[in-house]
């Protein structure tokens, strides 16, 4: 626990000088230094996130060479955002609310907004998109079938003749081993909704839940620093349940209807020479983040006011209510040096190293079914 605390202080030391010049409370924008600080905090607190250096030729000189962008891989996405949007019944609206983090009023509010907007999804406002998707789904099915036979019926005539019998790749001597192999190899999971004993179902197992198919996709999520907008920017790369890369259209199925093709587009990933990824355009990030920060700060001020009434002896009780407070180390320090560190003990406004944690909660409203926000336990 001591090393934990030490590392925690180290990170605080690291970011503190930056904080003084910070403008993020006023604009919602952050400097590269603050991005690194917030990223350090995120990777430290939630080890699923990692720094990457990316392609050397694309390195940004205002960021440390080994801290160019953040990445988390294999983020689960159990359902399509579309299937949320299309369920119209009232009880579904209730269900949508539960997608937020119940411990934070803010998140609930965002999710409410999403629930309120869902009507537009199948109203006349969005006809093009709804028309598009079945078409493209069809394409996808065709692709899947084509891949099953590995015959390239959908592509140019030249290869059609050559490839159909790729299926006939000799199964080799393995054929002879089949019997022995079957015995000790776990077969594909049963397709019916049979639960295995531990209550864990396999990702590839299709399960009907309220008519929505459970198709587990996974996403690699990257956060880069956008120099122009001075905000973080999020990038998505997806895989379907068979681990094939997702097409743009499939990715848009996981974006809430309001954002697909508007704020979420496919663009060149800035830290690779060739890679394309879906990205949420950052032009509104700063203003949204500013609102969130203001709201959180307002909450803190209320707490401060309340604390003045209570007297400073009740420090820790007020802190517990604050979701973004520092928990363990804080209480330890109050034991050690309660009066000496008085100003440190004030519940303070949102610090910049929480920026990315909050940012992820905001992103979670744009991609409601991709569980980017692993920070709910925080």
């Amino acid at each position: 626990m001591h090393t934990f605390q030490q590392q925690y202080w180290a990170i605080r030391d690291y970011i503190s000088p930056v904080l003084k010049e910070s403008k993020f409370k006023e604009h919602g924008r952050i400097t590269p230094e603050e991005f690194v600080a917030a990223g350090d905090f995120l990777t430290y607190k939630f080890p699923v996130w990692q720094w990457e250096k990316g392609d050397a030729s694309k390195a940004r000189d205002y960021l440390p060479a080994d801290k160019q962008y953040l990445v988390t891989r294999g983020v689960a996405c159990l359902r399509r955002a579309q299937s949320l949007a299309y369920t119209d019944a009232d009880e579904d609206a209730e269900r949508l609310l539960s997608f937020g983090d119940p411990s934070s009023g803010l998140t609930d509010e965002w999710v409410e907004t999403h629930a309120g907007r869902k009507d537009t999804a199948d109203s006349a406002a969005n006809p093009g998109e709804i028309d598009d998707i079945p078409d493209l789904d069809g394409d996808h099915d065709q692709l899947a079938t084509a891949m099953g036979n590995v015959s390239l019926t959908s592509s140019a005539g030249a290869t059609v003749g050559e490839t159909p019998d790729i299926d006939d790749i000799p199964d080799m001597e393995e054929e002879g081993l089949e019997a022995g192999d079957d015995e000790a190899t776990a077969g594909p999971p049963p397709k019916a909704g049979v639960l295995s004993s531990g209550g864990v179902i396999d990702a590839s197992q299709v399960e009907a839940a309220k008519g929505n198919l459970l198709q587990v996709r996974t996403y690699d999520v990257m956060i880069t620093y956008d120099k122009y907008y001075q905000t973080p920017r999020i990038w998505l790369n997806g895989y379907d349940e068979n681990r094939n890369p997702l097409t743009p259209v499939q990715i848009f199925q996981d974006v809430s209807a309001d954002h697909a093709l508007k704020t979420v587009t496919i663009e060149a990933f800035p830290h690779s020479t060739t890679l394309q990824a879906a990205s949420v355009h950052p032009c509104k990030h700063a203003s949204v983040m500013k609102k969130v920060i203001e709201r959180m700060n307002a909450g803190v001020e209320e707490q401060l006011a309340a604390r003045k009434k209570d007297g400073s002896s009740k420090d820790s009780s007020s802190k517990k209510k604050w979701t973004f407070g520092r928990k363990g180390s804080k209480e330890d320090s109050s034991k050690d040096k309660s009066s000496a560190n008085e100003e440190d003990e004030q519940p303070e406004a949102m610090r910049v190293d929480f920026y990315l944690v909050v940012f992820l909660k905001f992103i979670a409203s744009i991609v409601p079914t991709i569980e980017v926000d692993s920070t709910t336990s925080f």
Binding site: P47, R73, G74, A76, R79, R95, S98, L143, A144, M147, G148, N149, V150, S155, T159, I166, D167, I169, P170, M172, E173, L177, G180, D181, A184, T185, A186, G187, P188, P189, S196, S197, G198, G199, V200, I201, D202, A203, S204, E207, A209, V216, T218, D220, R243, N244, P245, T247, P248, V249, K262, T265, I266, S272, T273, T274, L275, Q276, A277, S377
Partner: protein
């Protein structure tokens, strides 16, 4: 007693790998189809809780290949391990089809077998093989993975208790100390020695000393388990068991296995995900190389065939232009 069924690896190739292969093919390899060494990785088996149904959904037993696969293995994150693979890219689809896959497969399994018999080296127990044909003009990549595993005859059997949660066998402080040890230095395979409430993790190299001196009840053989399926341990265990049976035949009448699946300490109210089971084999000491299996089956047809990644939607400039609004 039921036969132990191992969850096979499933390959997950990040688009970055195909981009890197494209670059390498054009700028470096050109027409060469020599085998190369590539590096993949797997991590502890993960599952997510479905917020609607409250069930845990297992996320598959993935072997991941990324853009850095052709570079020297770099630092892998805690609770995942890097594994080495043999990579071969063919210039035409015909060559890809007629390639002598059995002999390439044999080369890999020979290497694995020799590392067991000659050097007692557990680090080569998990390897993979990747054959590709890249149709660069269409942004289509045909590929076939193999994850060679030796077949035990007779098969390994799990005790009548079956696989159970690790915290039924070990207490929380033992599990926590195993976690801390693995988190500091993640090993694909390890040995656990229990003394009272303490659990100490030893590297596989110490198996000689370990099996010579310790009573079977205080020793556990552990491995980082990429599977999250409750009744199926992951693929790496298969070769580990072959390793044990070959080198320590007298100890394999009953082996206590810990399938390590906890990537982080469980949050309050949630159980440990790791599994524990006692497996046994009636087989004799292996003296000749056992047969091996492990070609990846096509995920949709479940047949032994190659598969294809179609990256045209994400790479083809004309199709990307269509997407741009």
């Amino acid at each position: 007693m039921p036969v132990v069924q191992f969850a096979p690896f499933s390959s997950l190739v990040q688009p970055g790998f195909w981009h890197e292969l494209t670059r390498l093919k054009i700028d470096v390899l050109r027409l060469s189809d020599e085998s190369l060494t590539v590096n993949g990785s797997y991590s502890v088996g993960r599952s997510v809780r479905d917020r609607e149904t409250g069930q845990d959904v297992a996320l598959g037993c993935n072997l991941v290949l990324g853009a850095a696969a052709f570079e020297q293995p770099s630092q892998v994150p805690p609770m995942s391990v890097a594994i080495r693979g043999v990579f071969k890219n063919y210039n035409t689809i015909e060559e890809f089809k007629v390639a002598d896959k059995a002999s390439i497969f044999n080369e890999v399994t020979n290497d694995m077998w020799n590392s067991i018999v000659e050097s007692k080296d557990a680090s080569k127990l998990t390897q993979f093989l990747l054959l590709t044909f890249s149709d660069l003009k269409k942004y289509q990549y045909y590929y076939w993975f193999a994850f060679p595993a030796f077949v035990a005859k007779p098969a390994w059997e799990i005790s009548t208790e079956g696989w159970k949660a690790a915290d039924h066998e070990l207490n929380a402080s033992q599990l926590t100390s195993i976690f801390e040890s693995l988190h500091a230095q993640t090993k694909p395979f390890f040995l656990v020695k229990l003394t009272g409430d303490a659990a100490k993790v030893h590297p596989m190299d110490e198996a000689d000393v370990f099996f010579a001196s310790d009573s079977p009840d205080s020793t556990i053989v552990g491995f980082l388990d990429p599977s999250a399926s409750p009744d199926n341990p992951g693929w790496p265990l298969r070769n580990l068991l072959t390793y044990l049976q070959t080198l320590y035949p007298s100890k394999t009448t009953s082996v206590r296995i810990l399938c390590w699946r906890d990537g982080e300490l469980p949050v309050a109210g949630r159980a440990w995900k790791s599994r524990f089971g006692v497996v046994a084999s009636g087989g004799d000491r292996q003296t000749v190389k056992p047969t091996a299996v492990g070609w990846e089956r096509h995920p949709t047809t479940n047949k032994l065939t190659a598969r294809m990644a179609d990256l045209a939607p994400m790479m083809d400039p004309t199709r990307l232009a269509d997407q741009a609004v």
